[in-house]
Homo-oligomer: 166 residues x 2
């Protein structure tokens, strides 16, 4: 549970602070953390609505449900890691309004790939959610790093949150 409690760089801007909705959305974020740690495709897929529009870290520009909400979509990627995938969610900021919400955070993902390489990446994460008959579900996800506009075309995969934002 500790990961999503690292609120150092975020301010609470909910319309109804620590409302039931916010607690439920925080639980969804935490469920994603647990699913990655356990590399459990069923748990991971279950947080998404069938209409999910995914802007992922890797190409293509977007991927859309219902296949993104299917465990089969996640299994190959989860199995490309040899142990737990550790996701630290920092500065989680949730905005809720009725049955609609969005949140954003700066996430750090760490683990070891089957190829042998240790991965350690900070990225930005935005989620859009809707309250459905089955509870809150993620209908939009946007994960990314920036890129260097110095002509190199390099993705900025070496960044960390700045002190000025902490």
């Amino acid at each position: 549970m500790e990961e999503s409690r690292q609120e150092g760089s975020g301010s609470m801007t909910t319309t109804d602070t620590m409302s039931g909705s916010e607690a439920q959305i925080r639980a969804i974020v935490q469920e994603r953390v647990a699913a990655l740690r356990e590399r459990d495709a069923d748990r991971l897929a279950a947080v998404y609505a069938p209409e999910i529009v995914m802007f992922g870290l890797a190409p293509p520009l977007q991927d859309t449900g219902p296949r993104v909400a299917d465990p089969a979509y996640w299994r190959p990627w989860l199995e490309s890691w040899t142990g737990p995938i550790t996701l630290d969610v920092t500065g989680l900021d949730i905005t809720t309004g009725g049955d609609v919400a969005f949140c954003h955070s700066l996430n750090r993902m760490r683990g070891t790939k089957a190829g042998g390489g240790h991965q350690d990446l900070w990225f930005r994460a935005t989620l859009g959610l809707r309250k459905t008959g089955a509870g809150w579900k993620i209908t939009h996800e946007h994960s990314s790093t920036p890129f260097y506009m110095d002509g190199s075309g390099r993705a900025a995969t070496d960044l960390q949150p700045e002190a000025s934002n902490a």
Copy 2:
């Protein structure tokens, strides 16, 4: 006005289709398009709330208001172009709930930089908005390209929307 009407790749998933809120948010998106075309820093800054959290195309990981809501933040970048910045907003998908909304689209930005180079970039755009006393304002923006996970570290600045997503 045509740019934001290119709905080919998006489905409408608003809770209240073409509601007043949705029309107002569509106007905000369009105002951003106009501000870029005119390279008008005052108009561009005015769409943001002082608490804006910006995940931009370029580093750092995030930039936060109120300075992002200040025209001075935008002026140097706008002045680095020699003519209109053309932003095509495609597949705009708006979800509204009370005084909270989020939307996403695939955007194409084109223009000529002062250095002489012609730019033409597809990227993913997500906006989070809140209804304030001054109308709807953008409180969160996330713009990005994916990056190639082939060990090259290259940003995927050469992508276009896929036919399968259209």
